[in-house]
């Protein structure tokens, strides 16, 4: 489903030699596997041709000669070769199959490792679904090309070559006649495949539109019913399904036409064999067995041609996949260690924004000439409207991004001189929408410090105020949190992510407070946990709750990338400005919650 919203780009890719070489280079570590399956597949193909030759000998040397001992002799050889061939078939399926899996594994691993290095900026401009497709479907296509694609082509080529060899050997004149139609068939086959592939792309495109139409109609069913739009909807959908019908019917009958066409063309070769072969036979230049062999070889050559055509058509798609995949692999992280980066051993000290400018898009500055000095141990509350630049400030502190202009100093040193690991391992972050990973509660808390003992994990949970609700679960710390933590409530997730940050023992604490309200008890616990974390640490809080805001040493009202008001609670309230508006509104909100007004009114808790 994740793919449905992305129309895959069109594949007008030129046959890029560089990309193909790069794809092939992925198999270099397994070159013996590749040579192994290629050699076996050639041998299998040769044996197949040889079987036909043996059939010819059964006819000529056994039947026509009336020689039973020769017959048994040939059949014995035939039998032995069948057994050998079976062993080889085992070999190439296993080798190619396992190699394919291995290449996929390698590619996924390489991509994943790259993804861990890329900066947040990459993630902010790249859709998660797009990245997922690169790691899942593109790796499949590329590895299929270097294994099954390569195998099919080799097999087909070997079939053609060996058949040609035996045909020429049996009767070269007749052989030449048959081989003459080969290029024609290949040409026709490739044209067919291209057309078919094109139609299938249309099918996929319409299909994703159909899925999304279903999705809209089901999720919006209340509106559909309320507005009585059923008939119009059906008429629209009917157009979609008609498009689908046209595309898929065309794709299907083109596919159905393909094989018969190849067969009919090859029937001309067969007719040629009958005619000219008959003449030759009458001259004694060809035996009955020879004619039979020719008939078999013709079929034998025609089958693989459709494989070549298929691989050729799919190759373009695979190359496009590979190019997208390589584009990911070639992305450079924007934020990375300088060559001389070092670990200062501690991040304690004042934090200073010195005329910092930052933008995601050059023409839309987020922070402009921003200057701020935060003393060691100070708690800063950032308030203001969404999109004003609060998150950018904390993202810069975390060095998820670096200033475009200006400098950020920690303890007087430009922080880009430190290693990323040194900074990020000393910052504790609690996000607005707490992100948990599938696994147990214990694993999620331990994420903060991997070598923490069970006692330390539980201690952190206690400090964060999470211990009580955790132990109330039947399985306690071993309870599964579900995918993305969806088995827990928002408040519980917040408490666990607090515990995770507590365990990390950070020197700088950053919190993006959740806007969604939780029950009063959990709220109290969260406040307490935060307080524990903030004590003695330089803290940046994107704050929403009044209690948090008031507790801060300094409140910054951020709007349009600037500090519009700064000071303590009382100072700012007196200004009757932005903070005043913000405060009164939040006050009403929290009070209504506290006095259970919302409950009486049945309002959605927001």
């Amino acid at each position: 489903m994740s793919d449905q919203y992305f129309d895959e780009e069109d594949f007008n890719t030129q046959f890029s030699k560089k990309t193909v070489l790069r794809i092939l280079s992925k198999t270099v570590p397994y070159w013996h596997w590749v040579t192994g399956f290629l050699a076996t597949v050639v041998a299998v193909s040769f044996l197949d041709s040889y079987f036909t030759y043996l059939s010819k000998r059964i006819i000529d040397e056994g039947i026509l000669a009336g020689n039973k001992s020769a017959l048994t002799h040939i059949v014995t050889i035939y039998g032995l070769l069948i057994v050998i061939q079976a062993g080889m078939v085992f070999g190439f399926i296993y080798l190619a199959g396992v190699l394919g899996e291995r290449v996929r594994y390698d590619l996924r691993k390489e991509l994943f490792h790259k993804l861990q290095d890329l900066s947040l900026s990459y993630y902010s401009r790249t859709h998660v679904g797009w990245i997922m497709s690169r790691v899942t479907s593109d790796t499949e296509r590329v590895s299929d090309l270097v294994t099954w694609g390569l195998l099919d082509v080799t097999w087909a080529a070997a079939n053609i070559v060996t058949s040609a060899y035996f045909m020429l050997r049996i009767n070269w004149r007749l052989g030449v006649i048959v081989l003459a139609i080969l290029p024609l068939i290949i040409l026709v086959a490739i044209q067919f495949r291209k057309k078919i592939l094109h139609e299938f792309r249309n099918v996929r495109r319409v299909n994703s539109r159909i899925t999304s139409a279903y999705n809209q109609n089901i999720t919006g069913v209340r509106v559909v019913k309320a507005l009585g739009r059923e008939d119009a909807n059906l008429a629209e959908f009917g157009e979609l399904t008609s498009d689908m019908y046209r595309a898929s019917y065309r794709a299907a009958w083109l596919s159905a036409l393909f094989l018969p066409t190849v067969q009919i063309i090859s029937a001309f070769a067969l007719g040629g064999v009958a005619w000219y072969g008959g003449l030759q036979a009458n001259l004694g230049a060809l035996t009955v067995g020879g004619i039979q062999a020719f008939v078999s070889y013709i079929t034998f050559m025609m089958w693989p041609i459709q494989d070549i055509a298929r691989v050729y058509a799919e190759m373009q798609q695979s190359i496009a996949s590979a190019e997208r995949m390589f584009s990911l692999l070639d992305s450079e992280p924007e934020v990375r260690d300088r060559p001389d980066a070092y670990d200062p051993g501690s991040l304690q000290g004042d934090i200073e924004f010195d005329h910092v400018t930052f933008y995601y898009d050059e023409d839309k500055p987020v922070l402009q000439d921003f200057t701020l000095k935060v003393r060691r141990g100070e708690t800063i509350a950032l308030v203001g409207p969404t999109g004003g630049g609060k998150s950018t400030i904390v993202n810069l502190v975390c060095r998820f991004y670096e200033p475009r202009k200006g400098v950020i100093r920690i303890g007087g040193v430009d922080y880009t001189r430190f290693s990323l690991q040194a900074i990020q391992s000393r910052i504790g972050v609690v996000l607005q929408t707490p992100h948990l990973f599938s696994g147990t509660i214990r694993e999620n808390i331990r994420y903060g410090r991997l070598d923490a003992s069970d006692e330390e994990v539980e201690k952190a949970a206690q400090l964060a105020g999470a211990h009580d609700f955790i132990t109330a679960f039947e399985k306690g710390y071993e309870s599964e949190v579900g995918e993305g933590g969806n088995l827990l409530s928002t408040g519980q997730k917040q408490l666990i992510s607090l515990a995770r940050a507590v365990l990390a023992q950070p020197e700088i604490f950053i919190m993006d407070e959740a806007t969604s309200s939780v029950d009063t008890l959990t709220e109290t616990l969260i406040q307490k946990g935060m307080e524990n974390l903030m004590r003695g640490r330089t803290s940046f809080i994107i704050a929403h709750r009044l209690s948090t805001i008031k507790r801060a040493d300094r409140i910054l009202v951020i709007e349009d990338g600037r500090i519009v008001e700064m000071g303590t609670h009382a100072e700012l309230l007196r200004l009757r400005g932005h903070y005043y508006n913000l405060y009164t509104r939040q006050f009403r909100h929290e009070k209504s919650e506290e006095l259970e007004l919302y409950k009486l009114l049945g309002a959605q808790a927001v």
Binding site: S55, K109, L270, S425, K591, V606
Partner: protein, 624 residues
């Protein structure tokens, strides 16, 4: 509307049958002839293939090595080409007809399901899971399509190839024919057994794929957490584990394949070779001609090898059947009759509404949702509903458009019992502005005119948008009214969405209005804008407001305070403030908040005095 009547004419319910094959047969209605022809062509094609080998026999026995027969050589050649052409044409015909059937049937099924789902009752939709429903209408329908286009026809093909070739073999020589099929049951059984097993292994492989995707997705969406804790290596190890797991499962899958194919190769190869030996022996002894042997050697290939794939087809067919069953589960559900009702007024309703002792409970749940609701309101009046979550406010208004039908009591609209109005008409008279407005992934223009059912001029759209205070916002987007909403376009805020809905409702111009006034998620400026937009909307319409704030009920003509499905207080603002009860309680809380706020600000205004610890926290312990 032509298209939709044609589309709606098809009734999939008739395909409901205990026997799934019979059900599938019924679905094919209208295309059965082409499907039968497809199968017949396949049989004919098989006959012509066999004929090719018979021609080869004649050629070997009567032409080759006989110089006197040279003149008929060209005819033999023409014969081969002709037979192949006929066979090819028939094969193509069969493929094309099968595709024609499969695609047409699928189109009908898709249209039917789409329409069916949008006409299923509210009760169904509140229980159904979107993801699962979509899975059924896409993947399962596609499995059905493959059943028609690939599996059913594939099985037919193998069946024809087998019977016709076997008949030909019997004609050539009975003993030889029988010897040639000795191992076939083994091939068939091995193949079915294998494909069953390998399907399971493949499912395990797919499950591992899903696990791997989850790890990846969690990593990508949680990238800030990963970076914040510098946990890249830990994540790599986690991914490695599942990635390797997938490799192992994939290896197992290919190991099975690499075992099955050589084994079946061996069985089939041996069977064929035995046939060759016996046939050749008989040819030497003169029991069959050389030509017969040649024909035999060609035919036997088409007898044996296709059987290896029969197992795959059979296993796939069974999954196709399961999919069919899952699709029919949806079809079984009853639709909401939109046109049922014997009272259809010419024009619009006035909007006088009377509730008398109305009760409502859900079908599968005995506890009543609404009990003994009695009130009345005149056309153009506003009724406000107040009460906690689950008090029945939403259920009450859902009765008006007949999303649900009341179980007892009576509701009249303009003096006529509500149940006598067709749902379609009723809904055309009622406008709804929801708490969480849903917009479609279309342009803003299309969203505003959605469901209007007539041509709407740009002026009218803009007028509505202006009245809903959303026109300026729309113009601020680069594409204006043609801006796409949602995933591929702009994301609108809750308040903006609500205003688009208001514009939509203004264009619809209903006589009765249902409003959910939740504006708690929007900021102060928009709140005022929405309020005035709503006031615009309410003018001259009978309005039901699900209120979440006292400000929006104060002007209502009638306020109903609900609790546990009953009306506990009823009256105007002035009536209710002077009564003891929930309403006054709410009113007093609001007054109290305002006075406390004033006190807070006053305190901060005292220069030199630091704000005392927040009064909010008096109830929360301060252990530190």
């Amino acid at each position: 509307m032509d298209a939709s009547t044609e589309l709606a004419a098809f009734e999939l319910k008739q395909a409901l049958s205990a026997n799934r094959l019979r059900g599938l047969w019924r679905i094919m209605q209208g295309y059965r002839l082409s499907y039968i022809t497809a199968n017949l062509s396949l049989g004919l094609a098989a006959i012509f293939k066999t004929a090719t080998f018979m021609l080869l026999r004649y050629f070997a026995d009567h032409v080759v090595g006989r110089p006197e027969a040279t003149p008929i050589l060209p005819w033999i050649a023409v014969g081969f080409v002709a037979l192949a052409t006929i066979e090819g044409t028939l094969t193509f015909l069969s493929g094309r007809l099968a595709a024609y059937t499969a695609e047409n049937v699928t189109r009908k099924v898709r249209n039917y399901l789409y329409d069916h789902i949008q006409r299923l009752s509210f009760a169904y939709h509140s229980k159904a899971r979107t993801g699962e429903l979509i899975e059924r209408v896409t993947s399962d329908v596609d499995a059905m399509r493959r059943f028609f286009s690939e599996q059913a026809i594939g099985v037919g093909r193998i069946f024809f190839l087998f019977t016709i070739n076997f008949t030909a073999l019997l004609y050539l020589n009975v003993r030889l024919a029988l010897i040639s099929v000795v191992a076939l049951p083994i091939v068939l059984i091995t193949s079915i057994f294998f494909f069953k097993r390998v399907t399971k292994v493949y499912e395990a492989y797919q499950e591992q794929e899903a696990v791997l995707s989850t790890v990846l997705q969690e990593n990508l969406t949680g990238v800030r957490v990963v970076k914040a804790f510098a946990r890249q290596d830990y994540e790599k190890a986690k991914f490695e584990k599942e990635n390797w797991g997938k490799f192992l499962k994939g290896r197992r899958f290919f190991l099975m394949h690499s075992a099955f194919w050589p084994i079946s190769d061996l069985i089939c190869g041996t069977q064929m070779l035995v046939g060759f030996l016996v046939g050749a022996w008989m040819a030497i002894d003169g029991q069959i001609t050389v030509g017969a042997y040649l024909a035999y050697a060609g035919l036997v290939v088409w007898l044996i090898w296709p059987l290896r794939n029969l197992g795959r087809l059979i296993v796939q067919t069974s999954t196709g059947m399961v999919s069919f069953g899952r699709v029919m589960d949806i079809v079984k559900e009853e639709r909401e009759p939109l046109d049922a009702g014997d009272f259809l007024p010419e024009g619009d309703v006035r909007g006088d509404i009377v509730f008398r002792h109305v009760c409502f409970e859900y079908e599968d749940d005995d506890s009543s949702v609404l009990e003994d609701i009695t009130f009345e309101c005149k056309a153009g009046q506003a009724v406000a509903l107040l009460g906690s979550t689950g008090s029945g406010k939403t259920s009450l208004v859902n009765l008006l458009p007949r999303f649900h039908d009341y179980t007892s009591g009576s509701i009249t609209l303009d003096g006529v019992e509500l149940k006598r109005y067709p749902r379609k008409y009723l809904r055309s008279q009622i406008g709804i502005v929801e708490q969480e407005p849903f917009l479609f992934s279309r342009t803003i223009r299309e969203n505003i005119t959605y469901g209007v059912g007539r041509q709407v001029s740009q002026e009218e759209i803009e007028a509505a948008a202006r009245a809903a205070a959303i026109h300026d916002v729309i113009l601020s987007f680069p594409q204006g009214y043609d801006t796409l909403v949602g995933e591929k376009g702009v994301t609108l805020s809750g308040g903006q969405k609500q205003r688009v809905t208001i514009a939509r409702t203004l264009i619809k111009n209903p006589r009765i209005l249902i409003l959910d006034d939740s504006t708690s998620s929007v900021d102060t400026e928009t709140e005022a804008e929405i309020r005035s937009a709503l006031e615009q909307l309410m003018k001259g319409r009978t309005t039901f407001i699900i209120a979440h704030r006292i400000q929006s009920v104060m002007n209502a003509d009638l306020i109903l305070v609900l609790d546990k499905g009953r009306i506990v207080q009823k009256g105007t603002h002035t009536d209710l403030v002077s009564q003891d009860g929930v309403y006054r309680q709410i009113y007093e809380i609001q007054t109290r908040i305002e006075s406390e706020l004033e006190k807070e600000i006053h305190q901060a205004d005292q220069p030199g005095e630091r704000t005392p610890e927040p009064s909010l926290e008096t109830q929360s312990p301060q252990p530190l």
